[in-house]
Symmetry: C2
Subunit: 154 residues, 2 copies
């Protein structure tokens, strides 16, 4: 998978968190995902269809970081992954993929996005059903880590 | 959500299971999903984008039924939700949504499909991030139940 398809998601994520939550995040290196496990407890999944490639994006948050993000954006403390937090994961997934879609359009990749699906479980496995590799980037924040997985195939 | 958008998935599911696995399934009534929980242990999720509506589809299998389906299709017994079973969920998700896409096209709804994402966990919650209602249909088989959730919004 080309880096040009991944970077827009990393930039959009950084942009959404800094502007919406006033939170800094530091992306690690993009790497091949070689396990089905994710370390997050709540994951936003969205499908993207395009004329050149199609794919799936999963943004998986540990409990600590999504509670912190939600509190920063809404100004209300959340103690568990409740419906407010799940809605926030859906909104973040939409905002990040929407921002990435715009950047991808500028480099010649047009996409349409499905509606997000949010999965939550203390431990869950995520597999992208495609022959293309899944690339994962770990983001570090002061409240813990989250993960962006992308899989695009032609 | 219109029944005309749901029925193609039910028909495609029945068709895939009968032709591929020689398995009969009986759909229950379509009902509003009023909880985030799913009763399945492995779920195929796919995004669909279209000019008139877009949405998300989740097909959630209990362990007993997906092990039986996989054994019937591949002729090899599987004892746990391993990579073979997860691949099968991806294939089934593609086949069912592909069959539904064809039927939907015939009634004037054109869709593109993303690649499926498969989530597995003993207990997991699934939420479709949309203002539209999520419709769920329970399918009964001799090996247990599975569930199709659809959410489409304009």
């Amino acid at each position: 998978m080309k880096a040009e398809l991944i970077n827009p998601f990393l930039l959009a994520m950084d942009n959404v968190l800094s502007t919406m939550a006033g939170m800094e995040c530091t992306p690690g290196k993009a790497r091949l995902k070689n396990t089905t496990s994710t370390k997050g407890q709540v994951t936003g999944i969205i499908g993207m269809t395009g004329s050149r490639v199609k794919g799936s994006v999963a943004i998986s948050f540990t409990t600590s970081v999504i509670l912190s993000i939600t509190e920063r954006i809404l100004g209300e403390k959340q103690s568990t992954i409740n419906s407010t937090v799940i809605d926030m994961v859906g909104e973040l997934t939409n905002m990040v993929t929407g921002g990435a879609k715009k950047q991808l359009s500028e480099i010649g990749y047009e996409f349409n996005m499905s509606t997000p699906v949010i999965v939550s479980a203390p431990i869950h496995k995520i597999e992208h059903a495609s022959n293309a590799p899944t690339i994962v980037v770990t983001f570090a924040t002061e409240s813990g880590n989250f993960f962006i997985e992308t899989n695009f195939s032609s």
